[in-house]
């Protein structure tokens, strides 16, 4: 799917940190460029439904996707474009779904961030926050039944979603079953417009770990290196059989909740804190400072990403929309058990 000169790839993961860092950066960049493209299509009236961006959250997301292996499980949420790409989702799945093509993985039945390929370990989120975690648990339980050791399941969550009963039940379930679950909570300080202080009362969400009897990890979500190390460690722990890992990364969302939202409510004070920095810019500076990449290379990558995204958008725009006349209006797999008499006339 990717045709970069030097494609970042999941195969051939290396312990060469600068190389992994470069790869991570390029997925982040690709995610940023791809989402900016969709946002501009949205502004141009070319997208139906909502557009939700991961701007500012690419570091924690990509670190999750990269730390996982083939055969692992990933349940991304709305701000996980970078992690999806790093985990192996094709950019075409992204554009085909946003543009409502019949050939996308959701076939126009669901849209935007609601996509996945369960067979490839990528779960398609339902909207109800917290609901994907226990599904990951179940996949891990199945792996245990099937003697597949060493599989890890990662689920993303926001600060707001920690208030759901589903979060609690599923983290507790994972703890009781000692499942290799990595629960990555990105505390971007807001749930839609609601700030942390209206969402929970502990001083840091990672304090929840002890009450579940699981390990907790705190991460600077604006720092790619910290994200890679922190998530990497959590995934290693989970894979080694040490049970669920609760990771809490802190950052700011650098976009609206969705593209319809101007995020005027985000406090200037927070924006000016280190927390408010852009993880992509941070990572770029780091690349340059450490001599891991030169400016012309960064520019090349940016151009490559733009080409990639344009290609994927153009491709998706050419794909036909779903056709209601030939659509298979059957919600179950056993067609003979469809409640046919019950259909609309």
């Amino acid at each position: 799917m990717l045709h970069l000169a030097e494609a970042p790839s999941r195969a051939g993961k290396t312990s060469d940190f600068p190389e992994t860092y470069r790869r991570a950066y390029r997925w982040m960049l690709l995610a940023r460029v791809a989402e900016e493209k969709i946002a501009s299509l949205f502004r141009g009236g070319r997208i139906t439904g909502g557009v939700f961006l991961g701007k500012g959250q690419e570091a924690i997301s990509v670190a999750t996707g990269l730390a996982l292996k083939q055969g692992d499980i990933f349940a991304p949420l709305i701000r996980d474009q970078a992690g999806r790409l790093a985990f192996g989702e094709s950019l075409h799945d992204f554009t085909l779904t946003y543009l409502g093509a019949r050939s996308g993985p959701m076939r126009g039945r669901d849209g935007n961030v609601h996509r996945g390929r369960p067979r490839e370990g990528l779960l398609p989120m339902i909207s109800h926050l917290g609901a994907m975690i226990s599904v990951v648990n179940g996949m891990l339980i199945a792996h245990r039944f099937n003697g597949k050791a060493g599989t890890v399941g990662a689920a993303s969550l926001g600060d707001g979603a920690t208030s759901t009963g589903a979060f609690h039940e599923s983290l507790n379930q994972a703890a009781v079953e000692k499942l290799p679950l990595v629960l990555v909570v990105t505390n971007n300080q807001y749930a839609y417009s609601t700030p942390n202080e209206r969402q929970f009362a502990c001083s840091d969400l990672v304090e929840k770990a002890i009450g579940y009897g699981v390990s907790g990890h705190s991460i600077d979500g604006t720092c790619l290196e910290d994200c890679m190390n922190g998530i990497g460690e959590a995934v290693r722990q989970a894979r080694a059989g040490h049970g669920p890992q609760l990771v809490v990364a802190s950052n700011l969302r650098l976009a609206g909740h969705g593209e319809h939202d101007d995020a005027h409510y985000v406090s200037t004070h927070l924006k000016n804190l280190p927390l408010g920095r852009d993880c992509l810019e941070n990572a770029q500076q780091k690349l340059l400072q450490n001599g891991w990449a030169e400016a012309p290379t960064l520019e090349l990558w940016a151009r490559e990403c733009a080409v990639q995204v344009d290609e994927a958008v153009a491709y998706a725009l050419r794909e036909p929309a779903p056709d209601p006349a030939t659509e298979d209006w059957c919600a179950i797999s056993h067609r003979h058990l469809a409640d046919g008499n019950n259909a609309a006339i």
């Binding site: 609601h114 779903p322 209006w329």
Partner: protein, 320 residues
């Protein structure tokens, strides 16, 4: 001109103004004014009475029940009707049973932004009125007009029983009226939205407007279709429905929700049992298809009934 959404905001404003027991609780409803801006500016006007909640639908509703037991009149905004499934238990088992078990009224109003709009997909489009109507102890309102959105929400808040207020998102901005109503039909009464003599369409909420358009279309061919807006689906005003069927002899029930056990099933069951001899032809119904609500506008437009599928059904009905 005032929109359906503005009417909902105005009703909440009026309730807050006139009754100190009223408060509103929901996600992002205070300073932000709600995902749909249904509470815009209310937090500033009524400090401390329009409150942001955590993302905890079960606790949101549970707390409303407790406050109601202590004499308050909470209004709970679900961000989307679809998310009420995670607050479901408190609604159907705690709120709905409270009066019957204890004799204490439980005056809570739960606002459910309901129904499909293009691109909103399987989890932001649901119509859950039948779900709640199945349970004893709840009143289920489904306003189809700007006027009803206003007056029925005010009445909902004033009622001593738990009310599920199904407001339709498709109507939020599309539907406009000249002014807020000064008088209104009470909850529990259906309304004849268009008089006719050849057939009756029984419907509610956003489908009213599709049905009216279909009736208009058939009028061009000389057919006079009566259209009934149920307004509340529980209680369901069977008398008004039967009186209409008595006049027309033919009936089509239309709902945007799924077919199995929906409002249309209940309406037809009542007509069949109590109005059988009024019918000149088999009654018909039209619902959405029995699948999740699709994201893509092409599919969505086919999934739910529209003026054109309703007028087709009516032509069939008139031919029978």
């Amino acid at each position: 001109m005032i929109t359906y959404l503005e009417a909902i905001r105005e009703a909440q404003k009026k309730a807050l103004e006139s009754d100190p027991r009223v408060y509103i609780y929901g996600q992002d409803i205070a300073a932000f004014g709600g995902a749909f801006k249904a509470t815009k500016n209310l937090a500033a006007t009524f400090p401390g009475r329009v409150i942001d909640s955590p993302i905890s639908e079960d606790a949101m509703i549970g707390s409303a029940i407790g406050a109601a037991l202590q004499g308050m009149r909470p209004v709970i905004e679900m961000q989307f009707a679809d998310f009420s499934t995670v607050g479901f238990n408190q609604i159907v088992n705690q709120a709905a049973t409270m009066f019957w078990r204890t004799g204490e009224p439980c005056p809570i109003t739960i606002r459910l932004p309901s129904g499909g709009t293009p691109g909103s997909g399987p989890f932001h489009s649901q119509n859950l009125e039948a779900l709640y109507a199945h349970y004893p102890g709840l009143i289920i309102l489904t306003p189809a007009t700007v006027e009803d959105a206003y007056s029925m929400l005010l009445e909902a808040i004033a009622l001593n029983d738990p009310v599920i207020f199904c407001e339709h998102k498709y109507l939020y901005y599309h539907l406009k009226a000249e002014a807020l109503p000064s008088a209104a039909l009470p909850v529990g009464k259906a309304r004849i939205a268009r008089a006719g003599r050849d057939a009756t369409v029984v419907t509610y909420s956003a489908m009213l407007h599709e049905a009216l358009a279909a009736a208009e279309e058939l009028a061009a061919d000389g057919w006079e279709i009566e259209v009934i807006d149920l307004r509340s689906v529980k209680p369901l005003d069977t008398d008004t429905v039967l009186a209409s069927v008595a006049r027309t002899g033919r009936v089509l029930a239309v709902g945007e929700a799924w077919p199995w056990g929906g409002v249309t099933a209940e309406v037809l069951a009542r007509i069949a049992t109590d109005g059988f001899n009024l019918l000149d032809a088999p009654p018909m119904r039209l619902n959405s298809k029995d699948t999740p609500v699709p994201f893509h506008p092409n599919l969505w437009g086919t999934h739910r009934p529209t003026a054109s599928t309703i007028s087709n059904a009516l032509r069939d009905l008139l031919r029978l």
